[in-house]
């Protein structure tokens, strides 16, 4: 009986450790008289998705460098709030209006999901703090596929759109779909006829390898290992210029193939609505310092990310422009709300 009690106590302890990581706290205001601001309690970064994904990785890496390099002394906790492609996490952060100790990591779905009508909160509702990195899309086909570049693929799609299936992880109207549509449209493909299947168990690659589908729309880094092993080939990436790094530098851009379009998978951080301006300024500076640090450069290299720092104001402007472009695409596809 004693041992059981001991076990129960240990169990409770474990559970509490898990649960505590999500403790949100009061909204202490750290503004001092001279207008500067410093955090006065642990900072919480929400990754609005499960552990292990792109958002989660970015948030954890950023938190790690902030603390390890002593850029921010106050401890930083990453909390996963999965659900609704981000909507659950956004609703949560929106509930901390004005707080200087809550933020979340975001990327283009913050634009897609509200435009698809799946979230009442959009980027305008939050305080953009800083963008940190950029990632790009890659379109891959099986190694023995008949296409060797994007134009060959798109020519076949123009001829018979029903013969080619594209697979991605996100649902139609979100990232993997739109990044492909955006480039295909610039190449003159009738984007309303593109056959897109969503495979949310993350087995899109399997479907490509066994020949169930023809094209895999994904992130650049997801393709590297397979290209090295010679199982797939990348027809094009969506960056402005060729990427750096072994293997990556061999991927042709859509632009150099004469398709004048790009797609950036930007990733940055947002605060709750009406975050204190002094707090925004504080974090802007800290994110800049992070972005310039050697430690973060190593991490960028490890994950194949590009540097893309934008401060609050520039970021806001950028988001507005992006949103407009996406809105047009979604309207054409009949997915806009």
């Amino acid at each position: 009986m004693k041992k059981f009690l001991l076990l129960t106590v240990f169990a409770l302890f474990m559970v509490i450790t898990v649960a505590c990581s999500s403790d949100s706290s009061g909204e202490a205001d750290g503004s001092s008289d001279d207008g500067s601001w410093e955090p006065e309690e642990p900072i919480e970064i929400v990754a609005p998705a499960g552990a292990g994904g792109g958002w989660d990785t970015t948030a954890r890496m950023v938190a790690k460098v902030f603390n390890e390099e002593s850029i921010i002394e106050e401890s930083i906790g990453v909390v996963n709030k999965a659900g609704g492609g981000g909507a659950v996490g956004w609703a949560y952060v929106a509930g901390h209006e004005g707080s200087g100790h809550n933020m979340f990591v975001a990327s283009p779905p913050l634009l897609f999901i509200p435009l698809n009508g799946q979230s009442e909160y959009g980027h305008e509702d939050f305080t953009p703090i800083a963008n940190v990195i950029a990632d790009y899309a890659a379109f891959a086909v099986a190694a023995d596929a008949k296409w060797d570049n994007l134009n060959e693929l798109f020519d076949d799609m123009k001829e018979d759109p029903s013969s080619i299936t594209v697979v991605g992880t996100s649902s139609p109207g979100s990232m993997d779909h739109i990044q492909f549509v955006k480039i295909a449209k610039a190449a003159g493909v009738d984007v309303t006829k593109i056959k897109y299947v969503s495979d949310q168990d993350g087995v899109g690659l399997t479907q490509l390898l066994n020949g169930s589908v023809d094209v895999f729309s994904t992130g650049v880094s997801e393709t590297v290992e397979q290209v090295k092993a010679g199982t797939i080939k990348v027809l094009g990436v969506t960056s402005e210029e060729r990427l750096e790094g072994e293997i990556l530098e061999d991927f042709p851009t859509a632009k150099e193939q004469g398709i004048d379009e790009t797609f950036v998978n930007w990733r940055g951080f947002f605060g709750p609505p009406n975050m204190d301006e002094a707090a925004v300024a504080y974090y802007e500076e800290k994110f800049k310092e992070l972005s310039d640090s050697e430690a973060f450069a190593d991490i960028r290299k490890q994950f194949g990310w590009d540097e893309m720092y934008m401060g609050s104001e520039e970021y806001s402007q950028f988001l507005g422009d992006e949103k407009e472009k996406i809105q047009t695409l979604l309207d054409e596809l009949g997915l806009g709300q």
Partner: protein, 495 residues
Amino acid sequence: MGSLEGILTGFQVAFSLEGVLFVLIGVFVGTFIGMLPGLGPISAIAVMIPITFGMDPAPALVMMAGVYYGAIFGGSTSSILLNAPGVSGAVATAFDGYPMAQQGKAGKALAIAAICSFFGGTVSVLLLMLLAPALSSVAIAFGPPAYFALMLMGLTAISSLSEGSTIKALLSAVAGFMVATIGIDAQTGTQRFTFGNVNLLEGLDFLVIALGLFALAEVCTLIINRKDLSQENTHKIGSMKLSKEDINEMKGPATRQSLLGFIIGVLPGAGATIASFIAYISEKKIAKNPEEFGKGSVRGLAAPEAANNAATSGAFVPLLSLGIPGSGTTAVMLGAFLVLGVQPGPLLMTDRPEIFWGVIASMYIGNVFLLILNLPLIPYFAKILKIPRPLLISLVIMFSIIGVYAISFNTFDLYMLLLFGVVGFLMRIFSFPAPPFILAFILGGMMEQAFRQSLTISNGSLMIFVQDPIALSLLIVSLLSFVFPLVRQLRKRKG
């Protein structure tokens, strides 16, 4: 022979002091978290990721793998003792494990589960070692039509999971299907049955349904049926010694279902849950006395336990050799690999043999540790049942709530848990079986997606299910498993 060298390197890593130590830590943490109702391998791995920061990748990954299969190993405990499965792979374990515990044979049930888990785990590690490179082609052999057929085969289980009224079992399954459609539809991005509620966008989590329908409904039943309190049996733990007959009973199912479980585990997306269900059903189909299933049958407990542990090692095939995570849990595992700077994929075996083979080799040790760790503890775990009823009931409720809250720290999930507790209780009162509901819920979502992916690819032609040889053979098997019982019944009537 390069891979022999690789295997030896792997054993070197696994049997180094560091390797052994971290396997031990991994399986201990895993089995412990897995035992808590509601906390499964995903939470266990997520908790451990920060600890691995800065560690050497080989021992760190050996430890993470240990956490993963340790959690599946331990997951049977709460299923058996409390009817509160913490992982979807342990739902089928509750079908016969819980009745057995109720009959005062909790010790025996836990021992069977531990031994079959060990057996399934070890057999599949052996297969993994011998066949991993070759199996990567099996892992990608299944396209959407084949997945649809596999799920359909799993669903034929509904007929064998129904005690009493088949109509009620089917209705229960239909309800499960309906609940599975809640959320954003993956193929169109449309919201279904979310009532504009942001918390429903992602659909309902498996745990909410399982703990509601099983654990909370059981709690309600215990509270209502006060006469149960006087039943001495449920307090008994019984000996954990297995008789010769028990061992003979276990042998067949454990061997067969370890193999089957491993193969299903290799398929991305299928995994331990489907393996355990198919194991349970197929054992029931070939059993001489299928009427014992669901009432505390040794075979009914041995089959899913061997299968779910075998499937866990099987899931490492696509993860390690293709870099494809086949489930939520393996996706988190993949994240753990990446954090440590290791990219699983076709090149892992040649580039980092110490990691590829080290992880696999460590599973032998891990499984032995799990057995050594679990067997002596069984009497202590089983003592849970000696706790006075009112206290035990409160504990089950508490753990269910903690488990569900830990999914996404969202109180909305708790209301849903409560709702499904009430639904489960009503279902019991009107004798609607819960297993078909949960089976349809788990398989339904994946089956629908696979069906619609297939039709998109084929431009709407159903022929795609017949043209795919794997899909066709699975469909024939499902058809036969439906027709045979009917034919048998008709013959009986004539006779």
